[in-house]
């Protein structure tokens, strides 16, 4: 487990993020998976939204489809 961040000078500037091999080494201690957190939060938000949506449409609306107009599903029309 290395905590050193090594910049590979030779690789820099040769296409930026499109490079086929690492431009730097990120060790355990410097790595902060903020992008993963972002994606997982998005997934959870999506799940929560779908769950709530399902509850309204399938139970309160008593209508066996989630693909009609929401208003119909939740008994507003």
């Amino acid at each position: 487990m290395s905590s050193a961040t090594e910049q590979n000078q030779a690789d820099q500037g040769a296409g930026g993020p499109q490079l086929d091999h690492p431009v730097r080494e990120i060790g355990h201690d410097e790595y902060d998976p903020i992008g993963t957190l972002t994606l997982i939060m998005l997934y959870f938000l999506l799940l929560a939204f779908l769950w709530v949506f399902m509850y309204f449409v399938e139970f309160l609306g008593n209508d066996p489809t989630v693909i009609g107009w929401i208003g119909t599903g939740v008994g507003m029309a």
Binding site: V23, I26, H28, I40, L47, I67
Partner: protein
């Protein structure tokens, strides 16, 4: 753990791959490479046949092209199911697991003859079951196995089908024994060392498999096989179904675990990074070992004869089972992000652009993972007892498992094949752009098909039906129409078939090519946080095995006892299907019944008359 790919003389070439070149699996383990290659080729044959039957039934069901009678639909559906989810997945698994054990323990198998013996046993079993299924296409043989993958009684298959499945499963047991033997030998030479992660994954998965297959082995050996041979007259369908699902849920993890293994040990490397956490990966596999089996009853929420309380326990266990999949989502995405950032990626979302999307192996696995996230949602719907009632036995369910086993597993396996076949043949992948188009086509085709299947299920359209259209009844589609859903399903099926054709083109092209020294070195991802960071108890396989057995006993003893108490060990006297109907005896029975009824009513009339007279 040292990265086995690290090779002093390693060099990279941007034209082919970012991975270092070097010693391939074939160079290091030529004898084992042959076995793994044979296992993979067997799985590809099953994939080709299963895929063919898939498109035939898709076009039949949606009424775009009907080249067979609807009665034959179930032969096709059985072949599609069994060839894909038993033969394709498990042959691939044994190939990958052999690679994983030999590579991570860095040792040959103990006795290559035994390795060939289990592969031969599995092949013989698969051939027997396949022969019984395919015989259903001809009337000249008195043999069929149109019982679908789930082989529910009272549907009955020819004994060869049950026997074939048994032999196949025995082959997998022998394979597991082979890998355990390697591990025991390695442990003796390396006392006190942590089990290398890929071997750990193989061993935990196999313990789960040994526990799970006890259910199906009992169902087949004690009931279905003797029943099909005429040794016993009847079976208890609820009992055999429950024993099937005892095995039927863990089997989905048996398909999934090699895909997870690829995501944990190959994907981080392909992303240009390291596995985020070895301990977390171990926790995930332990949780699957513990929780996969005591949940099978969640497939039987609508089965009468099992009390709601047992179903509720199964649901609770199922919800716990979401945990290891969500842990996997975190670990795998974090590992990919590590790779992306090492490749120069930045931002909260922007790092995704730095991933090697042009590499078919990476792209296929990443897209498979994305589909799995969608399958996760429909799986949560299936898992809830009350919501399950809305979608049970509808096309929603095939929609769900085409995302999970049909994409998360199948697409990962196809993408992984683009890495494995060069390893096993020493030949360069035939055509990377075609391979890339292939994995993307699978993703697109499945998006059409699975999405439309989910929606059709919400309309109440049933699964396992050749002609899901009924006279005097119309499904009410809130948005779009049934014709539009059918069109999407058929379009998806055709795109998937095209994708399969390309897959075989790439594989055949690669195999027919000549040896190359531009093949990446064999190996797997290094870790950011290694086994030294995880508690030693995680490697205590005896403990996890014991706990898994205890959980199974808790979850299954009472339901099974209650089913036997209610329906008997061999059930109410059920009649097998298909069966030959004896017209004469049927006619006699009818006359007898009619006579009895007449006599009874005459007696009642007489009794009433006498009563009246006496009054």
């Amino acid at each position: 753990m040292s990265d086995a790919t690290v090779n002093d003389a390693a060099k990279t070439t941007e034209s082919t791959t970012s991975e270092p070149l070097g010693e391939t699996y074939l160079d290091k383990f030529p004898a084992e490479a042959k076995v793994v290659r044979s296992a993979l080729y067997s799985s590809f044959l099953a994939l080709a046949l299963g895929g063919l039957f898939g498109v035939i039934q898709t076009l039949h069901r949606t009424d775009f092209l009907r080249i067979m009678e609807s009665e034959t639909y179930y032969t096709v559906l059985t072949a599609h199911g069994v060839f894909l989810v038993i033969a394709f997945t498990i042959f691939f698994l044994v190939g990958v697991f052999t690679w994983a054990v030999t590579t991570s323990l860095d040792r040959e198998v103990e006795d290559i003859r035994f390795t060939w013996a289990w592969l031969g046993t599995m092949t013989a079993g698969a051939a027997m079951a396949a022969a019984a299924i395919l015989a259903g296409f001809t009337d000249s043989l008195d043999m069929s196995a149109d019982v679908l993958f789930t082989f529910y009684a009272p549907m009955q298959a020819h004994p060869l089908f049950y026997l074939g499945l048994t032999v196949f499963v025995v082959g997998t047991w022998m394979a597991g024994a082979d890998w355990f033997r390697s591990w025991f030998a390695w442990k003796k030479e390396n006392p006190g060392e942590r089990i290398p992660l890929p071997t750990f994954m193989v061993l935990t998965t196999m313990i789960m498999w040994y526990v799970a297959t006890l259910g199906v082995a009992t169902a087949i050996l004690a009931f279905l096989l003797p029943w099909s041979l005429g040794l016993i007259d009847s079976v208890n369908p609820t009992l055999t179904r429950t024993l099937f699902w005892f095995f039927g849920h863990p089997v989905v993890y048996f398909w999934l675990m090699p895909a997870y293994m690829m995501w944990y040990v190959l994907l981080p490397k392909l992303s240009g990074g390291k596995l985020f956490s070895d301990p977390l990966a171990r926790v995930v596999f332990v949780l699957f070992l513990l929780l996969s089996t005591p949940v099978g009853i969640h497939h039987q929420y609508l089965d009468p004869g099992i009390s709601e309380g047992f179903k509720f326990i199964a649901m609770t266990n199922t919800m716990f089972l979401l945990l290891p999949s969500l842990l996997t989502a975190f670990t795998v995405v974090a590992s990919m992000e590590h790779g992306a950032r090492q490749r120069g990626g930045t931002g909260r979302i922007g790092w995704l652009k730095a991933l090697p999307w042009r590499d078919p192996v990476f792209a296929g696995m990443a897209l498979a993972g994305l589909m799995f996230a969608a399958g996760g949602f429909s799986g949560m719907i299936n898992a809830g007892m009350n919501i399950n009632y809305l979608v049970h036995n509808t096309l929603w369910v095939p929609g769900h498992f085409h995302l999970t086993v049909g994409t998360a597993v199948a697409l990962t396996f196809m993408a992984a094949s683009y890495w494995f076949i060069p390893q096993l043949t020493g030949k360069k992948l035939w055509n990377r752009p075609v391979a890339l188009v292939q994995v993307v086509l699978w993703f697109v085709g499945m998006t059409f098909m699975a999405n439309a299947m989910h929606r059709a299920g919400l309309l109440g359209m049933p699964r396992r039906t050749a002609e899901p259209q009924y006279d005097g009844f119309e499904y009410e589609a809130g948005v779009g129409s049934v014709a539009e859903l059918d069109a999407q399903i058929a379009l998806g099926g055709i795109i998937l078939t095209l994708s399969l054709v390309l897959f075989f083109a790439v594989i055949i092209g690669t195999v027919l090519g000549s040896r190359s020294d531009e093949v990446p070195a064999n190996g797997y991802a290094d870790t950011l946080s290694g086994p030294e960071d995880s508690p030693k108890i995680l490697d205590n396989l005896k403990l996890w095995f014991g706990l898994a057995v205890v959980l199974v006993i808790i979850a299954y003893t009472f339901p099974l006892l209650s089913i036997i108490e209610r329906g008997g060990l061999f059930g109410p006297d059920i009649t097998a299907f298909p069966q030959s109907i004896d017209i004469v005896s049927m006619a006699w029975l009818t006359v007898e019944q009619y006579a009895t009824d007449t006599f009874t009513s005459a007696t009642e009339v007489a009794q009433a008359t006498i009563d009246g007279v006496l009054r």
